[in-house]
Amino acid sequence: MITHSRTAKVVIISLGVLLLILVGLSVFIGRYPQPGFMNPTLLKTDTLAYRLVINLRLPRIFTAVLLGMALSAAGTVLQVIFANPLVEPGFLGVSQGAAFGAAFSIIYISSALWSVQLAAFICAFLGMGFSYFVARRVRFGGWVLRLIMAGIAVSALFSSGVGILKLVADPLSQLPDITFWMLGGLWSITWQKLLSILPAVLIGLSVLVLMRWRLNLLSLNDQSSFSLGLSPSRERLLILIAAVMVTAAVISVAGIVSWIGLIMPQIARRLFGANTRYVLPGAILVGGIFALICDDLARTLFPGELPLGILTSFVGALVFLFLLARSHQGTRV
């Protein structure tokens, strides 16, 4: 565990450099012209290779990095403000809300990508708003407990809604779309899609990064953070909105990609301790690296694309088990 701020800064810069190197390498990884690494000189001689890199691989690589960063950041801050290390970004009805929105659009509006994206984004926010509204109406328990309970109930409602939609969906044309969307993936990413989510993700991430030290205080109970000069409810709401905004934005183009938001904060905490001043930037970089590597594998390993969500769940669960096994040796998750 790193406790000295100078060491923490060096590790953060190293992670940043590693991410840049991986981005550079990923440009040449794929299944063209053969599975594996592409010779960089091909960019000058082969126009198909050039177009493929510029129009498909680059936006996809940047989106993968943004996806990892956003989910990891949202996971970290939600775990902190709910003082619970097992919270993940989609828990306030956000993921299930987005899934419902996407499925609804595929069946009743249009399976055009912009329509699915917009419906998913709106319903993700509806999920959070509904959870928040319910939590305010509940008359017992602390604020965190009320929000978590409301989130579980709202998620269940949306999830049953998705179940019904799957039942009425055309099994040949609509159901595969819904299933694929719920498994998560970046095969359909274009520059246009990337640009459509970029402002929301950048604004949200900036708010979170700027508030990274203050976040620590929001993990304390309300009286304590109030006594330290904060307005806990207001500041939690601001952070919640920023976290849901980045999550909803990336889910809307990538579908549900699980485990990144749960596991990456744990790894960052292993590296940097508990102080969110360093954990948050660390988690953002580690998340970006993890999502990029997983997506590189997803589009390279098999001739048919592997859904990214399956890969992140598989690798994430393995990492989680490894962390749990190691915690017997005197360290904690």
Partner: protein, 262 residues
């Protein structure tokens, strides 16, 4: 002595509950006079402390700090004037002791500001003051109840507020830690900090406070100099169980229950 806090006809009940916790409480707290708030469970001690902190808002009545209404202070200003040492603060993450004490600097930082080297120095000095500087990098999860209590005091010191509110500060402490805490708080009071604390222990109130409020069912039962308010008759009446206060070599001892002939 100037008035630090003025409470006028304060009535308070928790939302959703009809039972009033404080019922028309009027009180003036002077500067530089350590105040103990004593009373049985459910008498409204902690509620009163949270009202003084500004965390709870009274349903009726007015509350002034240094002659100014609470509503006229910003959140940060209040954080610079009043520090809280809570009874029990659950922490979910393994902060280092220094990081934890550094939280006390929050009222001096803008929402997007990071603590500076000067803030770090103030936090470290506070840790030194409570005798825990050697554990600056240790996880607070690995600390004992006594050390955690001292850390909370260090955080209040890093907050550099003149008034420190303590909610049952001795409730989880063994005898040694209780003695260390009492001495530290005495020093702080002598240096001019205003201490306002709730406690279940009359001997702790006798050791530290000049003035004691005895509370029962949301009202002040007795209010006066600690040495006169804390006496056998009052304590027996307050707790509904025989208690005797005995003077011994210039100090007071509390004898209770089975030690007494009933």
């Amino acid at each position: 002595m100037a008035a630090l806090l003025e409470l006028q006809d304060i009535k308070f009940s928790y939302s959703g509950s009809r039972q009033s916790v404080l019922d028309g409480l009027t009180l003036t707290i002077q500067e530089g006079q350590p105040l103990a708030i004593l009373g049985p469970n459910g008498s409204g001690k902690t509620t009163l402390l949270h009202l003084i902190l500004g965390w709870l808002k009274p349903n009726h009545g007015s509350l002034q700090l240094n002659g100014k209404r609470f509503a006229d202070y910003s959140r940060r200003e209040l954080g610079q004037l009043l520090a809280l040492v809570p009874q029990n603060e659950p922490v979910s993450f393994e902060f280092s002791a220094l990081d934890y004490v550094l939280f006390g600097r929050a009222p001096y930082l803008a929402p997007l500001e990071q603590p500076s080297k000067a803030d770090q120095s103030i936090a470290f000095a506070a840790l030194e003051r409570v005798g825990l500087s050697a554990l600056a990098n240790r996880s607070i999860m690995a600390m004992s109840g006594g050390e955690k209590q001292m850390l909370l005091i260090a955080r209040a010191l890093a907050q550099q507020s003149q008034t420190i509110l303590l909610d049952e500060p001795t409730s989880h402490l063994d005898l040694g830690n209780k003695a260390r805490l009492t001495n530290l708080l005495r020093e702080l009071a002598a240096e001019g900090h205003n201490l306002i604390f709730t406690t279940h222990e009359p001997d702790f109130a006798l050791a530290l406070s000049e003035r004691t409020l005895m509370m029962q069912r949301g009202q002040i039962l007795f209010d006066g100099p600690t040495s006169t308010v804390i006496n056998s008759a009052v304590l027996t009446d307050l707790y509904g169980s025989p208690v005797e206060v005995v003077a011994h070599e210039g100090r007071f001892l509390i004898r209770w229950d089975h030690q007494l002939p009933c």
